[in-house]
Symmetry: C2
Subunit: 201 residues, 2 copies
Amino acid sequence: MAQRATGSEIERLIQLLARLPGLGPRSARRAALHMIKNREKLLGPLASALTAAHDNVTVCSTCGNVDTSDPCAMCLDPRRDRTIICVVEEVGDLWALERSAAINCHYHVIGGTLSAIEGVRPEDLNISKLVERAAAPEVKEIVLAVNATVDGHTTAHYITERLKECDVSVSRLAHGVPVGGELDYLDEGTLIAAMKSRRPF
Amino acid sequence: MAQRATGSEIERLIQLLARLPGLGPRSARRAALHMIKNREKLLGPLASALTAAHDNVTVCSTCGNVDTSDPCAMCLDPRRDRTIICVVEEVGDLWALERSAAINCHYHVIGGTLSAIEGVRPEDLNISKLVERAAAPEVKEIVLAVNATVDGHTTAHYITERLKECDVSVSRLAHGVPVGGELDYLDEGTLIAAMKSRRPF
């Protein structure tokens, strides 16, 4: 019945929006209506932004980041510390670290984790390129900023093995109590890790 | 910092997505990444769909529905009952009624409710056009399918007054227990309305 009520172009827009993460059919309809109501301020600019993204966004062949140039702006940025490469699973993780401004270094997106269950093998990930980059004389440290999951750990171990041939130190993010976290709500693994890594106050 | 990590076009896309209802900054970033990762299947089609919507979608000057033509497909549909006009607040309400297939009639979107607090006056709503349509000889009934809120009731009363000059009967949606609803969870107003309108079983 919805097809009778709405133009097929609106219907198609809703169907596509519903495929975005976090949007279901209902919120996709709300979003579509909101855009149509804000034609000049939202619908037009969003149409242009999506077209621009579609036409210009590419994956950096050096680090795996997405950007409008290849190599990406981060790989070309001379203000970044070239001695450190921070390894992340996904581009979203890279963005999260950049927002935190935790480190001013270069990145390498491997594109996931090794997974026996999902059949992800080392050659499916962007690891060989990392080994190649790590072999450069200026690189001194590889920070493994993978997720603290079983697959993340497995992947970190595998990468460490692969990097043995390079003259780099390999580090990983510290485990511990999240800032603002309450002990009562934390899992045992985190508490054990935080206790093991306790530091002088 | 995020601007350093992401191309300005990706950043702009995220900012626009974050203005959609139901999406915040975090989910906008996830949605943007999801689109970029699914360039051919999602990003491209969505860019085209938004451009098409921007170029073609318009508000029907008869009923206030949004469609790619004016008058809209619903106003032109000869299979719809021309004797009934169903009045709704917003286009989303029209879509909801169409999905339910509760009635096969013509619609009229008034674009909101009267509101003293928000300063919405009768002339801000699409009511004069409704009175004009209701005066047509073929129209026999106006169904007020406004929301069951205080402002909705006020608006319904006002519209009823305005329609006194026309030769139409005015009805409103029934109040009662929602299908599947449990009495224990319903408010008193709904229970009182449902009891008052009780029907032989």
